[in-house]
């Protein structure tokens, strides 16, 4: 199959950037979107042109690197998929595909389709950990956890930090990401000790990075490749209120 690609090209963070059209031909339907991009880059290198810069790593849907806004949707038109797991059979032969980087002020473009998502790392550093004595390994089942609680925490822990939630949100809100990172601890006994302090720290870190507020549109949940539920955002709101009202700590 043949496609016309309209790709956002931007030399560096300071460059204003623009779309450039390319043609790719003889692409098999079983080719993944990233492999198709590789084919394009091969052509560009052969022609002595600068290849398109884009993030990719595991190519099996768990690293969260392949951030591309494809035809107006984060990671393309399919649900529960990252770009690496999106196949070209989902695009009509001869169609034009528009590829943009994530757009959010806290995710500045580094080059072409690559954005800097270190804002997410800084939010995580603000509290996404538990403090414990890391002596010898504890006995198995020392802390009892119900299957339901374990599953619920795992559901939240599936977040791969890809940033599709921010990219898809009309407010560039990071609420889904932050709430998933909070919930993976808040739903387990080990996370209780620092639960409210963590919430205060991570919410304030989220705001400090300049992300928008949550309008509960649920676009994030619809675009999340891991199907993280917006119920975690409600839990974050609840915990943030509790942390403010009930904790004796005064933050600033």
């Amino acid at each position: 199959m043949n496609y016309t690609l309209k790709i956002w090209r931007q030399k560096n963070a300071a460059d204003s950037g623009s779309f450039v059209s390319y043609k790719v031909e003889n692409i098999d339907g079983e080719t993944s979107f990233l492999e198709m991009m590789d084919v394009l880059n091969q052509q560009l290198v052969t022609r002595g042109e600068e290849p398109v810069a884009y993030d990719h790593d595991c190519r099996e849907g768990v690293c969260g690197m392949c951030s591309m806004y494809i035809n107006g949707r984060a990671h393309g038109p399919n649900e529960l998929t990252t770009t690496c797991q999106l196949y070209m059979r989902h695009f009509k032969n001869g169609s034009t595909i528009i590829i943009e980087p994530w757009r959010a002020k806290p995710f500045p473009v580094i080059k072409d389709l690559m954005v800097d998502r270190s804002a997410f790392d800084r939010i995580q550093q603000a509290g996404a950990y538990i403090s414990m004595n890391a002596g010898s390994a504890p006995d198995a089942n020392n802390i009892m956890i119900s299957k339901e609680a374990a599953d619920a925490a795992f559901e939240a822990a599936e977040c791969i930090g890809c940033g599709a939630c921010v990219a898809a949100c009309k407010n560039s809100s990071a609420s889904l990401f932050v709430s998933a990172k909070l919930a993976q601890f808040a739903l387990l006994p080990q996370g209780q000790v620092e639960r409210y302090q963590r919430t205060l720290n991570m919410v304030q870190a989220m705001d400090a990075e300049g992300f928008g507020s949550c309008s509960n549109t649920s676009a994030c949940e619809a675009e999340c490749p891991k199907g993280i539920s917006v119920k975690h955002i409600a839990m974050m709101n609840r915990d943030y209120l509790k942390a403010t009202m009930c904790s004796e700590k005064v933050m600033s």
Binding site: W8, F19, Y69, N71, G72, R73, P77, I98, E100, R103, A104, K105, P106, A168, K170, N171, S172, S173, V203, Q204, M206, D207, G210, F211, G212, S213, C214, S215, N216, T217, S218, A219, A222, E223, V230, K231, I233, A234, M235, M236, N237, R238, D239, Y240, L241, T244, V250, M251, S252
Partner: protein, 225 residues
């Protein structure tokens, strides 16, 4: 009290303010609609005027009125602050965005819908509240302030009735997303109760929209026939 400031200036805290004020306004609208439907009794407004009189002289209602006006200020002010922030969080937009595939129209247009409501409220309060409370209206057969005649006069202008109907449609869209969203903002999301909240939200929205539209529609139809 820096912790209160931290909370109420955070994105979550500001949304908390929007949510409690918005939901309070929803609560108020239940009473407001019930009262206003008395306009349709066809008794030349005697019952409606008597009801208005009771409301205006009830000390509890006067206190609630203060909360009402505070809500009407806090809600749009926070909306403005958050909208500014959210715009700033995406300086360069997408060339192509298919937001319609992942979220509802109402949820993406709360600001525009709210702005329509804001214009409505300024006109509505200036026209009815100010003249009812402070204006020089006549008295009806029972000796109550004749607010009914003021209503009839206002709705004798077709454009005024049509404007009201338009604004009530905007209210409907604002609330079809707003009521459920408000609960989520407060963190009141529970597997068992959220579907109930969702249903009540839809029922209330439909009741408000049809109920409030019925009033200008009644005067409009009366004018035509």
């Amino acid at each position: 009290m820096s912790w209160t400031k931290d909370y109420f200036t955070s994105t979550i805290g500001r949304k908390f303010l929007m949510s409690i004020t918005g939901l309070f306004l929803v609560f108020f609208l239940i009473e407001h609609l019930a009262g206003n439907l008395l306009l349709l009794l066809g008794d030349h407004g005697l019952t409606f005027n008597a009801y208005s009189d009771t409301m205006a002289n009830n000390p509890i209602i006067r206190i609630v009125e203060i909360i009402l006006f505070l809500s009407l200020i806090i809600h749009p002010v926070q909306a403005l602050i958050l909208t500014q922030r959210n715009r700033g969080a995406r300086k360069t937009g997408y060339a192509v965005s298919k937001a319609g595939e992942t979220s509802s129209w109402a949820s993406r247009n709360m600001g525009i819908l709210g702005s329509i409501l804001f214009v409505f409220l300024v006109l509505h309060i200036a026209n009815f509240f100010v003249s009812a409370r402070f204006g020089d209206l006549g008295i009806d057969a029972n000796g109550n302030k004749d607010i009914y005649t003021k209503v009839v006069d206002s709705f004798s202008m077709a454009w005024y009735s049509l404007f009201y109907i338009f604004c009530f449609l905007a209210l409907g869209f604002h609330l079809i997303h707003g009521i459920l969203s408000g609960f989520k903002t407060l963190g009141l999301s529970h597997k068992k109760y959220l579907p109930v909240v969702k249903s009540i939200g839809i029922i209330l929205t439909v009741l408000f929209t049809i109920g409030f539209i019925s009033i200008p529609a009644y005067f409009l139809i009366n004018m035509i026939i």
